[in-house]
């Protein structure tokens, strides 16, 4: 076999394997879409479940997931962006910074079910929030921190240093420089991180199992100390816990969850691409 032949062969093999990776992804999405599209309509999205959740819609679960995502944002935004500014603008090369970086890497690696245990121990039991939206949002918020911090830090670092030099040389203080000349330019990147993080939070089941999710509630939650239904847990419940569940309901719920999370991931990707194109430095 000549060198050129072996090269061609290798390239073909590599291409084939890449197809092996890509195709199942599209198959999974196509499978859920094809089976679920018939169920999803306006009624499905806006009606509460009926008949032991075998009929009706998924409104309380969808709403619960949106509320949880909002709560997650409230928890994760200040801490996440603050930590990103700290790392990008203030942190020196010292033990403290290394500890923070190590902490973020490890937060990103902690299994979601362990976050669920922590939420149960810390928020539900120790702080006595009970299984509630607060406990769930705090748990998800902490889980989302590393994603928000690392993308936001990257975005802040990508702002050219000339911006800082000029601002500082005109007499602005360090915070003024960050506030007026760094953060506005880093905003799209920060936004990307937030949307990615919230998308991940919205799709997670394990952290909300013991902290907030309810099997079925006849009414919407009235305060943040109430339980709520949530879309991922609802999918788990109706695909494993309720006998005689029409398959369409399961596929429909899976499709809505998939669309919700993927639209967030995709919009984050789009923002990033557009941002890169429009960047004028």
């Amino acid at each position: 076999m000549t060198r050129q032949q072996s090269h061609t062969l290798a390239v073909r093999a590599i291409t084939a394997v890449s197809v092996l990776v890509i195709v199942p992804i599209l198959l999974v999405i196509g499978y859920v879409v094809a089976h679920g599209i018939g169920t999803v309509d306006w009624t499905f999205l806006t009606q509460p479940p009926r008949d032991g959740m075998r009929a009706g819609g998924i409104m309380p679960a969808l709403l619960g997931t949106l509320v949880l995502a909002a709560g997650t944002a409230v928890v994760t935004l200040p801490a996440g962006i603050g930590a990103a500014i700290f790392l990008a603008e203030y942190a020196g090369d010292n033990r403290m910074t290394r500890a923070v970086r190590l902490a973020i890497v490890n937060l990103a690696g902690i299994p979601s079910i362990v976050y669920g245990l922590f939420g149960l121990g810390a928020f539900v039991l120790f702080l006595r929030f009970g299984t509630s939206i607060v406990a769930g949002a705090l748990t998800l918020g902490i889980m989302t921190l590393p994603v928000v911090i690392s993308t936001a830090e990257e975005a802040i670092r990508a702002v050219p240093d000339q911006f800082r030099t000029v601002s500082l040389s005109l007499g602005a203080t360090r915070w003024q420089t960050i506030r007026h000349h760094v953060l506005p330019h880093a905003l799209p990147g920060i936004l990307t991180g937030i949307i990615l993080g919230l998308g991940r939070a919205a799709g997670e089941t394990a952290p909300i199992l013991f902290t907030v999710a309810a099997f079925y509630l006849p009414e919407l939650p009235r305060s943040i100390f109430d339980q709520t239904m949530a879309l991922p847990y609802h999918l788990y419940v109706i695909s494993t816990q309720v006998p005689g569940m029409p398959l369409g309901m399961q596929y429909g719920t899976a499709l809505v969850l998939l669309l919700l999370v993927l639209s967030m991931t995709l919009s984050a990707t789009l923002i990033r691409t557009r941002m890169r194109r429009r960047r004028e430095w």
Partner: protein, 318 residues
């Protein structure tokens, strides 16, 4: 006047005339900067708190269950049998299976994306892989349960709910991590290496195989480790497709075609029904401690490697 960053962190210069407005603004600024530093520090505090709360809830298990029993081969908590071995073995088998599938696939896809694919293809393929990272694990578990398990059963397993089913799902969940980090690692290999190899007459494949891959070694190791970390911690999808039998799988050709019970699935399946404060409850937190220590170890080592290699994110230049 030039204000260097260092000055904003220390009290106003004595040469500057102290004006009320200025000093109040400086005060506000110091509060903001303290809050920013606090946000940074909070990440360390949170990791410590997570570990402390896991320990706090699991003390009873570590104190009251003899170590020999924790090392036992039977997990049957309602009879007081708290052997971790079947669960650790279950997590290990599923993770090894996932890594064996995901690492070659991920690495080869990274090579394709980084070295072979034309830019137009890359623009399409990379978002698809990012989409994979975004599919909720419960959705993958659902598809695995309704569609993949019956296929695995046709391979000759006694049931479709096996370690292999879990490994396949986990492999695809770990792929985005492995692909993106190894691609960064390949990208970080200086262009001059490639130019040099090509200039002395190597084909593109020889360049990749003999020059680029060895140079990207440490980044690839990091990718594999983080992929393992991702796989070992996954819960819902695994719980739906591995059968959850707390059995130490028999070694042999059928290893991956047996049902297993992972540590994560055990926590998720049992915590909901357990009596708060009981020994069983505490033991489930002890499993959490084991998971925390394993993932912390993996990420700590990977983090050190990232530090040592200058980080796979640093784009390559000589």
């Amino acid at each position: 006047m030039t204000a260097t960053p260092a000055e904003s962190a220390v009290p106003p210069e004595p040469t500057a005339p102290p004006r009320a407005a200025r000093s109040s603004r400086l005060l506000a600024e110091r509060v903001i900067e303290a809050a920013i530093a606090l946000a940074g520090v909070s990440t360390v505090v949170i990791v410590a708190l997570i570990f402390l709360f896991l320990l706090r809830e699991s003390t009873a298990a570590f104190l009251d269950v003899p170590l020999r029993q924790l090392m036992g081969t039977r997990w049957y908590p309602i009879e007081g049998l708290f052997g971790f071995l079947p669960l650790i073995a279950g997590s290990l088998v599923v993770t090894i299976g996932a890594v064996v599938i995901a690492v070659p696939l991920g690495l080869i896809t990274a090579i394709y994306l980084g070295e072979i694919a034309p830019p137009s293809q890359r623009e399409v393929l990379k978002p698809i892989i990012e989409v994979l990272a975004g599919i909720p694990s419960i959705v993958l578990g659902f598809v695995g349960w309704v569609a993949l398990a019956p296929l695995v059963q046709q391979l000759g397993a006694t049931t479709g709910l096996t370690a292999l089913t879990g490994s396949l799902i986990l492999a695809y969940m770990a792929l985005p991590t492995i692909i993106s980090i190894s691609e960064d690692a390949l990208y970080a290999v200086p262009k001059a290496y490639r130019d040099g190899a090509l200039a002395i007459g190597a084909t593109q494949w020889q360049t990749i195989w003999r020059v680029v891959l060895p140079a990207a070694r440490s980044g690839i190791v990091i990718a594999v480790m983080l992929g393992i970390g991702r796989a070992i911690g996954e819960t819902m999808a695994v719980m739906m497709v591995t059968g959850n039998a707390a059995n130490i799988p028999a070694l042999g050709p059928g290893l991956f075609l047996q049902p297993v019970r992972t540590m994560t699935a055990t926590i998720a399946a049992e915590m909901g029904e357990v009596q708060r404060g009981s020994l069983h409850y505490s033991t489930l937190f002890a499993i959490g401690v084991v998971l925390f220590v394993i993932t912390f170890g993996i990420n700590y080592v990977a983090g050190r490697l990232i530090g040592a290699s200058g980080g796979p994110r640093r784009r390559g230049q000589l």
